[in-house]
């Protein structure tokens, strides 16, 4: 069947009322967490993982994808009205968007970002639908050595390439890799580093680590830095509709932003933020109103907003076709697939085609819902910003704890006569680790990515070596592997070059705000 047929079937599945409800819950939650600074889609999906453990897999994944897309929409609202990016991909939006709001043009700024997000989301989701089958065909040719090379590329791009310090990134990655070693080894059936604790035989639950790192760690961080500055929300004055002039200046920027954002998201390197920076730079070059840049140029909002939504769809290409997460949210969505016993990758398209296409189609549906949710209801979302932080984070803490207990609450730990939930103890321990990492400026995403991809990389490496009977050169025999290693080398060298040239601030900003 061709892509149109599959996508059509997916749409039929996505339009079933229960899937529509899941998508609606997802986009609503996503917009809300996108609006709230500090709380992003990664944290939200992580919190929901244990809760959805017993729900329908397709519905849960549709909800997660809705949260991801919704977060991209919601983030721009905070950037424009509060000058605080709701999530990292909206940093650039704040540059021009907040200036526009201060000049009383908050309405058109919100409108161009919402419509731009819609246009980009639509084009990029269709792009995902048409590109994915080709990537899948290509990926079926991957042998263990090629997969190992792909993992190495992912490790480098996630940890070392972007961020203010390659050393910190690698440290975080190796914490994750170390945790990934725990549990029964697939190739020999022997337990490693389990210390006779049955709960550790199957390794550390990615869900537990993710919830701890993102939710507990962030909560502790907020608690320890209380008394922050009171942000001023700028009220939206006048019409929210764009003028003819605004439309004329926006549509080109939307399309260029999409063209920049999608491939950057789809490459196994970097997240949405990079695309937004490129888009902003491009618009600044091409504009006929260079004097407005820095003072509230609408192109500077339209382009980056389109780019960040397009790259969100782009991220799903390697996630679904190769099982390779390139952002923190994608890593947690991968954990979501795994909790239902589904392994993203070429086999997913063969064995669970209906689920994959329903998911892709539901992204189109979610996109329509989001533009409706975001334009007329903008006042409602802004009110979310008045929720006191202690309530918000108190709620997150309760939710994280209950979710973990619900998913795996067996009172399996014993100290003398006292029984306790081992999983909950791990949650708290990793939460403290997450706080310490944040406190000392270490990125969080490489830890989670290390735990997820580390065991996969190890299995592929050992399979490759077993098949070649211990010949290490077999790792470099395939042209695919060689190209991937070359990309990995480039991913180390290019940021190094920029850092030496003194342009490292872009990368350090990316690292400090990752989510």
């Amino acid at each position: 069947m061709d892509t149109f047929g599959l996508l059509g079937q997916g749409l039929i599945a996505a339009m079933q009322w229960q899937n529509l409800i899941y998508a609606f819950i997802g986009v609503t939650l996503g917009t809300a967490v996108g609006v709230l600074p500090g709380i992003g889609p990664a944290l939200t999906v992580a919190l929901l993982l244990p809760v959805t453990y017993r729900l329908d897999p397709a519905g849960s994944l549709i909800m997660f994808a809705g949260i991801y897309y919704g977060g991209m929409y919601g983030g721009s609202t905070t950037s424009i009205l509060l000058n605080t990016p709701g999530e990292s991909a909206s940093i650039v939006t704040a540059l021009e968007g907040n200036k526009m709001a201060r000049k009383g043009r908050g309405g058109p700024a919100l409108a161009t970002s919402a419509i731009g997000s819609f246009v980009a989301g639509l084009i990029a989701t269709l792009g995902l639908a048409f590109i994915a089958p080709f990537v899948v065909k290509f990926a079926l040719m991957f042998g263990p050595a090629d997969y190992f090379a792909l993992m190495i590329l992912a490790f480098i791009t996630v940890s070392a390439a972007f961020g203010d310090s390659a050393l910190r990134g690698l440290t975080a990655l190796f914490i994750g890799l170390g945790l990934g070693v725990i549990g029964i080894d697939l190739q020999t059936g022997q337990a490693r580093l389990a210390f006779g604790i049955p709960d550790l035989l199957d390794g550390i639950e990615v869900t537990t680590l993710a919830v701890a790192m993102f939710a507990i760690g962030e909560t502790l961080m907020i608690a320890s830095t209380s008394g922050s500055i009171k942000d001023e929300v700028i009220a939206v004055k006048g019409s929210i509709w764009m003028t003819a002039e605004d439309w004329k200046r926006s549509w080109g920027a939307w399309l260029r932003g999409t063209a920049i954002g999608f491939p950057i998201g789809a490459m196994p390197a970097g997240g949405a933020e990079i695309g937004t920076f490129f888009s902003y730079a491009t618009e600044k070059q091409l504009t006929k109103h260079p004097e407005e840049f820095g003072e509230g140029a609408i192109e500077g909002v339209a382009g980056p907003e389109a780019a960040n939504n397009a790259s969100a769809a782009g991220t799903l290409v390697p996630l679904l076709t190769l099982g390779l997460p390139t952002t923190a949210t994608a890593a947690i969505m991968l954990a979501g697939f795994q909790q239902f016993g589904l392994q993203p990758g070429p086999l997913l398209f063969a064995n669970n085609a209906s689920l994959v296409w329903a998911l892709i189609a539901s992204l189109l549906v979610a996109n329509f819902m989001l533009v409706v949710l975001n334009l007329p209801l903008i006042g409602l979302w802004v009110r979310l910003l008045t929720i006191p932080k202690p309530w918000l984070y108190g709620g997150i803490l309760v939710f994280a704890t209950l979710g973990t207990l619900g998913a795996n609450g067996a009172m399996s730990g014993h100290i003398g006569p006292i029984s306790f939930s081992f999983e909950l103890m791990m949650l708290l321990a990793f939460g403290i680790l997450g706080y310490l990492l944040r406190r000392f400026g270490y990125p969080i995403a490489p830890v989670v990515v290390g735990l997820i991809l580390g065991p996969m990389a190890e299995q592929q490496l050992r399979r490759a070596l077993a098949i070649s009977q211990g010949d290490f050169t077999a790792l470099f025999h395939s042209p695919i592997a060689i190209v991937l290693y070359m990309l990995a080398t480039a991913a180390i060298l290019i940021p190094l070059y920029f850092r030496l040239r003194g342009k490292g601030e872009v990368f350090s900003q990316l690292a400090s705000d990752e989510d």
């Binding site: 190739q187 035989l201 016993g341 077993a466 098949i467």
Partner: protein, 312 residues
């Protein structure tokens, strides 16, 4: 409050005499796998046939079923309404994990279903027959890479037994473990490994489509025209099987009641139909015959796992 209590008492009193037992079946694996499907098929059939009014299935995944097994023993000792599904993989996992709880700690009731493994090569492989495979194995055991399920499972055991039967050192078997038949299938189709070995159902579609060539099945009867290992001159019979066990510490009467219920289940039309749709073979065996078979299987498994080098 009183009314509520009364209502609860009445409904409780009404529910009790209707059926013999409300069973809880533990599937010591994630939803979707073989054990989970077995437990859920039992649930459907027992409810449909009126053997039990209300059957609950709980999933406790992990470590080849040994996590669930340990939890089952802790939680349900002496409880005549608790059942656990298990199988050959659990026998191997108890040994490789050195699990403190084994099948000796529960009350085995019956073997329910069986499935033969099949040995396949990609259609373009130079290996045409089982003889070719045996010759290659004898010439250089390491050059034959076997893709199958997790280490110490039935696929691995079958590969080890074949090597041993043809006079090759089982520790030299180059076994590549995948997390399931689907992943192993991709490796075989991609030509990354020499042969694939897994449940006959896993490869059936590709064998029929001509993408894979089946060399032999490991059971004692040919399957879909594929000859057995014994037909090809390799004296090995090994089959994956699934069983049901009850909690430890039961009286003989309680044990007999469960046995009777399972016998009714296996004889039922619902069960027979479900097995046919899933492609499982009914290998029902209960009582002393099953106990004897189980003891034999455990001993044989321990021996071959020692030969392969997974158990010291």
């Amino acid at each position: 409050m009183n009314k509520l209590l009364l209502a609860a008492l009445v409904s409780g009193a009404m529910a009790v005499p209707a059926f013999a037992a409300d069973y809880t079946i533990m599937a010591p694996a994630s939803p979707g796998g073989g054990w989970d499907q077995t437990a859920r098929t039992m649930q459907e059939a027992m409810q449909a046939e009126g053997i039990s009014g209300n059957v609950q299935v709980t999933n406790v995944p992990g470590a080849g079923g040994t996590i669930g097994l340990a939890q089952f023993v802790n939680q349900y000792t002496g409880n005549p309404n608790a059942l656990i599904v298990g199988g050959y993989v659990m026998v191997g996992a108890v040994l490789t994990n050195a699990s403190p709880v084994s099948l000796a700690n529960v009350t085995p009731i019956a073997r329910l279903t069986g499935e033969s493994d099949v040995i396949v090569v990609p259609a373009n492989s130079e290996l045409q027959s089982l003889d070719d495979l045996v010759a290659m194995l004898k010439a250089d055991p390491g050059s034959v890479s076997w893709a199958g399920g997790s280490a110490g499972g039935v696929d691995h055991i079958a590969a080890g037994l074949i090597a041993k039967a043809v006079g090759v050192d089982p520790t030299a078997v180059n076994y590549i473990a995948y997390s399931g038949g689907g992943e192993a299938l991709a490796a075989v189709l991609g030509g990354q490994v020499t042969v694939g070995i897994s449940g006959a159902g896993e490869f059936a579609a590709q064998i029929e489509a001509g993408d894979l060539r089946a060399l032999a099945v490991t059971g004692d009867e040919p399957f879909n025209g594929i000859p057995t290992l014994q037909d090809g001159g390799v004296d090995v019979v090994v089959q994956n099987w699934r069983m049901v066990a009850a909690a430890p510490g039961l009286t003989d009467e309680q044990k007999a009641a469960i046995n009777a219920d399972i016998e009714k289940l296996v004889a039922s039309a619902t069960w027979t139909e479900a097995l046919a749709t899933k492609g499982w073979v009914n290998t029902y065996l209960a009582g002393d015959a099953f106990d004897a078979q189980l003891t034999k299987d455990i001993a044989a498994t321990e021996a071959i796992l020692k030969d392969i080098g997974l158990v010291q």
